[in-house]
């Protein structure tokens, strides 16, 4: 029996049947007629001039259709990859924005920079031919670290970017912060590294370009989180294809985490190559190739200071960060360590003044851009490590110092000194609930038990707040965004009353087909199984900005809600006409239109049917059909937050940090589907713990090579690294989104790194340890323990 499944229910996900039976449709699964295969030849050098490229031998190989270089694309007037969000420096000047050709021109700037593209009848033929391309490189000195790249005499990556400084950016009131530090009784200072990460969604990237010459129609299938934005950026700015002649399809996509929310060179190259060659050209990234061509995340070096008064109240915060951009600016690269970072430095605390400066720097590494959390985990890590260190230094309990400085619930909406105004939240409620659930009271006993077994045990806490639901276009525009960040939804009611939703967000694991159907089911009273959600195809969906920044429900869901309002209004008009009643007397409730004070009523399917049989419609005031579209642009960011507590146990013999207990209490606003929300938090926490304990994109300073270039060396979190988590919601309602939702996709990744590292430091505190860099790998922890032992022996 078809039923309404509304807000707050956890139905089985609509998308799962195809996934559990092996019938998903990912880009690598797609075959097209007359399809050839392309592979990229990539630079083995971190920094080198390209003196010449000899493709003659490769071109003679069997099956080879073409070998393209950057010069070929330039000769065809192909443009560079655009940046979607520009920033300006302290001096008011815009960031340095050197060109980013899809295939390198004259110079390579990181190991993995594309040098040529070979197209052949098979992948094997293309691979064999690529090995025969002769590139004459003149290697240049390179630099992989942001701090090092700013040193006098560092290798110059661009002639037009002196000192490799893309932008010297700041936010906040420097003078007020200086004055506050003068009055402080205690100043806590820390140096942090937020290490480079590789996002590694399980599906490697892939792209297929196709050209239909008879119709002048281009199609790109791509592993993207935002197909409409790729159509816009690639069509208008790179290849010069008019919007109406370019279709971008992002079908099932196997995870994104930000890695797939950029316009990548490979998308433009396959689309362009297909135009040159006719038919379709397919490229599927190998994992090892992905390590040196997917945009990376994080990579900050930070110095931070917190000024406190005698009571441990925060007076001011000062932060200086060096942010590594890699060899080129990726789509949102410069926005991440600036606009998505500094405005979160107030955390959930009252901090009267904050000043943050960020040096955004080019290096000879893979470009860095958004990765799950994107700027906000980095900010939270700074705040929560500072607070924990201050507590330790001043002898204040770690929970007490947080409570003492928290924004009181009654102070919301709360304007921070760094741009943003939090609309709602209950940080104290989250913290207290997490303390109960984590049995903080029982920790001392558990620590004693660990000590009896020769182990160190520590408990760490991190609160957090994030800004998501990207984004209010007005504010984003003021901050340098080069496009709006609204979302669109179209609700198409069929004559039967069944519904197809066309929405501009993209589902790559988040369960949109289920959650969005629940919203429509609730609003329109339509059975859950009679609703389908369509996304990911620019020829089907009107427009959209895609999925990232925990925006799908907040912005896309709100657009869908708004379109549902329009459907109800239109349905009431039709019903009013049929009932011969006044519109204001027609009410819609639980899937039925009725006239108040009468027994006249019609079901939603009856009105839907009537909409398509307009025999007696007053056509000048009532159009046939029942289909409505809405665009929604949020008025503010949303601010999910929460408190995470974890316990670790450390084996001093091996340095292994074992995550023993993890508790998360999160305020994500209204919850549509509790099962999906919990799943998002679980996955996010594991990615954050991955950063804290396991993952590290390591560059070799000498060679400029990425040393952690495969799963053999880049440590992915595995099932046996984790205990069962305790995750509970503690929601306040967002005051400005129509359903009160806040978003939940990034919460886990934002709250967890500091919770884990604070626990590790707590465990090692008896050894005099005050800070541990991420990842807290066994070797690093053993070195710390071993050195502290040596220190103790020497004393």
């Amino acid at each position: 029996m078809p039923e309404v499944v509304g807000v707050g229910a956890s139905p089985k996900r609509k998308e799962d049947l195809r996934f559990v039976t092996g019938h998903g449709n990912y880009v690598a699964d797609i075959k097209r007629p007359n399809m050839s295969f392309g592979v990229f030849l990539r630079s083995p050098h971190a920094h080198a001039l390209i003196r010449s490229i000899d493709t003659s031998e490769a071109l003679e190989q069997p099956g080879v259709k073409a070998v393209f270089t950057g010069e070929d694309m330039k000769a065809d007037n192909v443009g560079g990859l655009p940046v979607g969000w520009g920033i300006s420096g302290k001096d008011g000047n815009p960031m340095k924005e050197p060109p980013h050709p899809p295939i390198a021109l004259g110079k390579v700037r990181y190991v993995g920079d594309a040098v040529a593209f070979v197209v052949a009848e098979t992948v094997e033929q293309a691979e064999a031919a690529a090995e025969l391309i002769e590139v004459d490189y003149e290697t240049l000195p390179h630099v992989v670290g942001a701090v090092e790249a700013l040193q006098p005499g560092a290798p110059q990556i661009y002639d037009e970017v002196p000192g490799n400084l893309c932008c010297d950016w700041d936010l906040g009131d420097c003078a007020a912060v200086d004055a506050a530090f003068e009055t402080a009784t205690h100043v806590t200072s820390i140096d942090l590294v937020n290490q480079r990460l590789v996002g590694n969604p399980m599906e490697p990237r892939a792209a297929i370009g196709e050209y239909d010459a008879a119709n002048g129609q281009h199609t790109l299938w791509t592993t993207s989180q935002f197909p409409h934005v790729v159509r816009l950026l690639m069509g208008e700015m790179v290849l010069g294809i008019p919007q109406h002649k370019l279709r971008v399809v992002a079908p099932d996509v196997g995870g994104g985490f930000g890695v797939k929310q950029f316009h990548y060179a490979e998308e433009a190259v396959v689309t362009w190559a297909a135009t040159k060659l006719g038919g379709a050209v397919k490229w599927v990234c190998q994992r090892s190739e992905g390590f040196i061509s997917d945009a990376h995340g994080r990579d900050h070096v930070t110095q931070a200071e917190l000024a406190l008064d005698t009571d441990g109240k925060f007076l001011a915060m000062r932060v200086r960060t060096y942010a590594n951009m890699g060899g080129y600016l990726s789509t949102f690269g410069p926005n991440i360590p600036t606009n998505l970072y500094a405005p979160l430095l107030s955390g959930v605390y009252v901090i009267p003044s904050i000043y943050c400066e960020v040096k955004v720097v080019f290096t000879n590494t893979v470009p860095v851009d958004a990765y799950r959390g994107a700027g906000r985990p980095e900010a939270t890590f700074v705040v929560e490590r500072l607070v924990d260190t201050a507590a330790l230094e001043m002898g204040i309990d770690k929970f007490e110092i947080r409570k003492r400085n928290m924004i009181p619930t009654e102070s919301y909406p709360y304007q921070t000194p760094v741009l943003v105004e939090y609309d709602s939240g209950d940080p104290l409620g989250c913290l207290e609930r997490s303390m109960e659930l984590a049995d903080v009271a029982g920790f001392a006993e558990r620590r004693s038990a660990s000590e009896a077994n020769g182990k160190y045990r520590g408990l760490g806490v991190s609160t957090y707040v994030e800004a998501c639901g990207l984004a209010p276009s007005r504010l984003a525009g003021q901050l340098g965004a080069r496009g709006g960040l609204y979302e669109s939804a179209n609700v198409r009611v069929h004559p039967s009353g069944a519904v197809t939703v066309l929405i501009g967000t993209h589902n790559h694991g988040q369960g949109h087909e289920t959650t969005f159907a629940q919203i429509v089911s609730e609003r329109l009273g339509v059975p859950f199984e009679n609703i389908d959600i369509v996304f990911g195809d620019t020829d089907k969906v009107q427009f959209g900005m895609g999925t990232y920044g925990s925006r799908s429900l907040v912005v896309g869901g709100s657009a869908l809600n708004k379109a549902s309002d329009k459907i109800i209004l239109k349905g009431r008009k039709i019903a009013a006409h049929q009932f011969e009643a006044a519109l204001e007397d027609v009410i819609f409730e639980k899937g039925e239109f009725s006239v108040s004070g009468t027994d006249k009523k019609k079901s939603f399917p009856e009105i839907a049917g009537a909409a398509y049989v307009p025999f007696d419609f007053p056509l000048e005031t009532l159009e046939p059909g029942l289909e409505e579209q809405a665009f929604y642009d949020p008025v503010n960011f949303t601010y999910p937050g929460g408190a995470h507590i974890c316990e670790v146990e450390i084996d001093p013999d091996t340095g292994v940090v074992r995550l023993d207990r993890y508790t998360a209490v999160d305020d994500v606003g209204t919850i549509i589907n509790p099962m999906i929300v919990e799943g998002q938090l679980q996955g996010g926490i594991v990615q954050g713990v991955g950063q804290a304990l396991f993952e590290h994109g390591v560059y070799d300073e000498q060679s400029g090579q990425l040393l952690s270039g495969s799963f053999m060396d880049y440590c992915m979190p595995r099932a046996d690294n984790f205990p069962d988590f305790t995750i509970k919601p503690h929601s306040t309602t967002c005051t400005h989104t129509p359903m009160g939702v806040k978003g939940c996709g990034e919460c886990g990744t934002i709250g967890s790194p500091a919770a884990v590292i604070n626990a590790v430091v707590d465990a090692l505190r008896p050894l005099g340890v005050s800070h541990v860099d991420m990842p807290a790998s066994p070797n690093r922890i053993w070195n710390i323990i071993n050195n502290s032992g040596a220190r103790a022996a020497a004393e």
Binding site: F19, V20, T21, D29, G254, F711
Partner: protein, 163 residues
């Protein structure tokens, strides 16, 4: 070379290059794209299938080596969309998947586990899945799914005993 093998209970004879991997044979030649390829170092487990009932990584297996053998892929688990394998049902019921890319490999590995160990503990499940990487779920609900799937299979076999 020509090879003949049983694939999802049907006999298949096909000409392959000796350097063809089973993952390529399945995906490119036989168009069974449920078996995924997520890495090139045999670590991620997205490509796991059954060879003679045991889970193996099809990206690290030559097509020539499966001549005369019995293979099963994720497409061969269900009788139809109304007749899912209990492990498929369990993954669906317990939200044991998000993007779906690792799911076929997770299912095939998990079924190999419960075939050998019908009542695995949480720890045994976590250890068994060492060769299957998931980036979405944090493994929490995958572990729950496998335990629920094992329970369902035990219940089903008890039902068979009564019959």
């Amino acid at each position: 070379m020509t090879i003949t093998f049983t694939l999802n209970d049907r006999s298949v004879t096909v000409d392959v290059e000796p350097s063809t991997l089973v993952s390529e044979l399945l995906r490119d030649t036989l168009e069974l794209t449920g078996t995924h390829v997520g890495c090139d170092t045999s670590q991620c487990g997205a490509c796991v299938i059954h060879l003679n009932g045991e889970s193996v990584k099809s990206c690290t297996l030559l097509a020539g080596s499966v001549d005369g053998q019995e293979l099963r892929t994720v497409e061969g688990l269900a009788g139809g969309t109304d007749d899912l394998h209990p492990m498929q049902v369990a993954f669906r019921d317990n939200h044991g998947l998000q993007c779906g890319f690792c799911t076929p490999g997770m299912l095939m590995s998990s079924i190999d586990l419960v075939n050998r160990n019908p009542d695995p503990t949480e720890e045994e499940v976590r250890e068994w899945l060492e060769g299957n990487i998931c980036r979405c779920t944090g493994y929490q609900n995958i572990v729950k799914s496998v335990i629920a799937g094992a329970q369902a299979l035990r219940d089903a076999s008890r039902g068979d005993d009564h019959a």
